[in-house]
């Protein structure tokens, strides 16, 4: 069972997040101030830290910087107020951790925590295999049960992203940020259209759909269909 630490001063958000995460089977601890959070994060070992950007006394980014300085590599998900387009947050993201703007949907938070918990190993492999799907990163080819599938470059990257996260919920925002590499939320419909094209290509008539749509949340690529 994964251990999580939530450093969040807003009680309402904290109660909601802790409730949802506990319900999902995580062990969650919460600190309401910067110093309390810092103390816990330094003393204990967690799998993921969820840190609010603006905290009383010590702000979230300082906590992260201090931890990194002490060579604590625990993945951190930063929560930030909407519109606070901050470069440092962007820099932080580039460092490998994630960032979520408030207000967020709980599914989005869960999906991102899961992504941090199951961060794909920086793959040396040149071939990805998930179920009947096989993707060759050098040849840029994809096959399903031996049948060759022609994909456009963007579709290829979309599928690669999904195949690196089998059986894991991927939200539209995550796809957009990581596959398109822009922080911008287009009409959810738009990602669906791209995904639809991809699914149409990988699922031949009569074949079981590999990528499943999770209503109101995102997509899951099933390893065993």
């Amino acid at each position: 069972m994964a251990r999580l630490l939530l450093i969040e001063d807003d009680d309402e958000t904290a109660v909601e997040v802790v409730g949802e995460l506990t319900h999902r089977g995580y062990a969650v601890e919460r600190a309401a101030t910067g110093p309390a959070g810092m103390a816990l994060a330094r003393a204990e070992t967690y799998d993921v830290l969820i840190v609010d950007r603006l905290l009383p006394e010590i702000d979230g980014l300082t906590i992260i910087e201090t931890l990194r300085h002490e060579r604590k590599r625990t993945p951190v998900l930063v929560l930030s107020a909407l519109g606070a387009l901050d470069d440092r947050v962007r820099g932080l993201r580039a460092g490998g951790d994630d960032y979520l703007a408030k207000p967020f949907a709980l599914v989005e938070l869960i999906a991102r925590i899961e992504a941090l918990l199951r961060r794909p190993a920086v793959g040396r492999e040149t071939r990805l295999r998930v179920g009947p799907l096989e993707l060759d990163l050098i040849e840029r080819t994809v096959t399903r049960s031996g049948r060759k599938i022609d994909l456009l470059p963007r579709e290829f990257r979309l599928l690669e992203y999904m195949m690196r996260r089998p059986d894991q919920m991927v939200t539209r925002a995550m796809l957009f940020e990581d596959v398109w590499n822009y922080r911008f939320m287009p009409d959810s419909n738009l990602v669906d259209v791209h995904m639809g094209k991809l699914r149409h290509k990988i699922d031949a008539p009569g074949e079981e759909p590999i990528i499943q749509n999770v209503r109101g949340a995102g997509f899951i690529l099933r390893a065993n269909v």
Binding site: L82, G83, L85, R90, R154, Y182, F184, D187, H194, G196
Partner: protein, 449 residues
């Protein structure tokens, strides 16, 4: 504030009075100066003419002429003398040839001693001195005192005139400044009413060229703008309410119906999913609004860097290509190589995406959307044009307004926030948004280098 105003108006009155008085005094001084010059010149020329008349007479008539001149003068204003070349008096009432005197054209100042029946008088005169044919001296003098007296009379008259002028000046000053004060108080009162919320009021304009009226005109224009904005704000409020109400009502109906009619957990879950969809739509509207506000109020340019607009636009177009394909719209991208601009990569992508999104939405099936990045002069221009219905001239002003949709029936998807967002992003970057209609709609973002 009022104390200062009063003080200022008093100063004004004094200043106006002083100015008026000084001007009048200068005018009077000028009149005095000019009239004394005129008098002297006039008397001189009369004297010169008379001397010429005598000089032109026959020798035997000179004495009579001089004596006549003397006898014709009861007021002792004129003096005359005829002297031998050696300076001995032949005729007239001048005792002796004044020293240091020379015959010359025109008149000169001199001092002479008159012999009158009642004794000798020394007078300062304007004298005309001529040598006659045999070398004799002719001197015609005119008492300076007379012209001095006349000048004095004029001077006194003018000085008397100055007193009422001073009074008039004071009155004018008081009147003018009272007028100004009244005007300012009027404006203050009106401004107070406007500040209290009566935005329909306008300041009066009496003369177009008066400084106060010019100021009033500017303030009135400002008020027009404010009234428009406040009106827009009210409309925005209504639009938000309307746009949120529709999906929320649908969510409510969905949930209500599911509670009454759902037979299985699956059906209930399905209704919940649809409800979440509807709520997401409402949330998206709120988020977009907050985002526009954040961009509009943000002065954040620290995150700006050199970005390739051509590439950003190409990627945005690629994002929308499946959507265009589905509707058989040709989405063409023309890029003249790298186009470096200073800006925020994500926001510029968002702006480009919104423009392309709009273009596709408003273009009928089988239409065409062109996206181009080019260099025009020292500007980089992003241009999105479509074969849709275009934007009418009246709509062009208002399309960047929040929630504005040319399609009043609201059949077109989207919250109508796209162009507002683009406008906010463009403004943040210091770029320019140009909306024109070709055939179809043409929107350009002009980025100065």
């Amino acid at each position: 504030m009022f104390r200062r105003l009063r003080l200022t108006s008093f100063r004004w009155a004094v200043a106006i009075a002083c100015t008026f008085f000084v001007c009048t005094a200068l005018l009077f001084g000028f009149v005095y100066w000019q009239s004394s010059i005129y008098m002297t010149e006039h008397f001189d020329s009369v004297g010169v003419k008379r001397a010429e008349v005598i000089a032109s007479m026959r020798r035997g008539e000179w004495v009579d002429a001089v004596e006549q001149r003397v006898s014709e003068d009861p007021g002792h204003q004129f003096s005359a003398g005829l002297f031998t070349p050696g300076g001995h008096r032949i005729a007239g009432n001048i005792e002796s040839l004044p020293p240091h005197i020379a015959a010359r054209d025109g008149a000169q100042d001199a001092t002479v001693t008159r012999i009158d029946p009642d004794g000798r008088h020394t007078q300062s005169v304007r004298a005309v001195v001529r040598r006659l044919r045999g070398g004799e001296w002719l001197i015609l003098g005119r008492n300076n005192q007379e012209s001095e007296e006349i000048a004095e009379i004029i001077g006194r008259a003018l000085a008397l005139g100055l007193l009422p002028a001073l009074g008039l000046a004071a009155l004018t000053g008081a009147f003018l400044s009272a007028g100004a004060k009244q005007r300012i108080e009027e404006l203050t009162q009106l401004a107070g009413q406007i500040a209290a919320g009566d935005l329909h009021r306008r300041l009066p304009i009496i003369e177009r060229d008066h400084p106060y009226d010019k100021l009033s005109a500017i303030i009135n224009r400002m008020l027009d703008h404010m009234e428009l904005l406040v009106g827009q704000l009210a409309n925005v409020g209504n639009d938000i309410a309307h746009d949120l109400r529709t999906p929320l009502t649908r969510v409510r109906t969905t949930l209500e119906r599911a509670r009454e009619n759902a037979q299985t957990a699956e059906e209930l879950r399905d209704a919940a999913d649809r409800a979440i969809d509807g709520l997401d739509k409402s949330l998206a509207i709120v988020t977009a609004l907050l985002r526009i506000a954040a961009i509009e109020h943000g002065q954040r340019t620290v995150g700006f860097g050199n970005v390739d607009l051509g590439r950003i636009v190409a990627e945005a177009a690629e994002l929308y290509s499946p959507m265009a394909e589905d509707r058989h719209i040709r989405l063409r991208v023309a890029s003249g190589g790298a186009a470096a601009v200073t800006g925020d990569r994500d926001l510029l992508f968002e702006a480009a995406a919104n423009l392309i999104d709009n273009a596709i939405k408003f273009t009928p099936d089988n239409g065409q959307v062109d996206v181009a990045v080019s260099h025009v002069g020292d500007h980089t221009v992003l241009r999105v044009s479509d074969t849709g219905p275009g934007i009418s001239d009246t709509d062009r002003e208002v399309v960047t307004r929040r929630f504005y949709r040319a399609d009043k029936s609201r059949r077109t998807p989207g919250a109508g926030l796209g162009l507002s967002l683009v406008a906010a992003i463009v403004k943040l970057h210091g770029f320019r948004l140009v909306i024109s209609s070709g055939p179809g709609c043409v929107i350009e973002i002009i980025c100065p280098d």
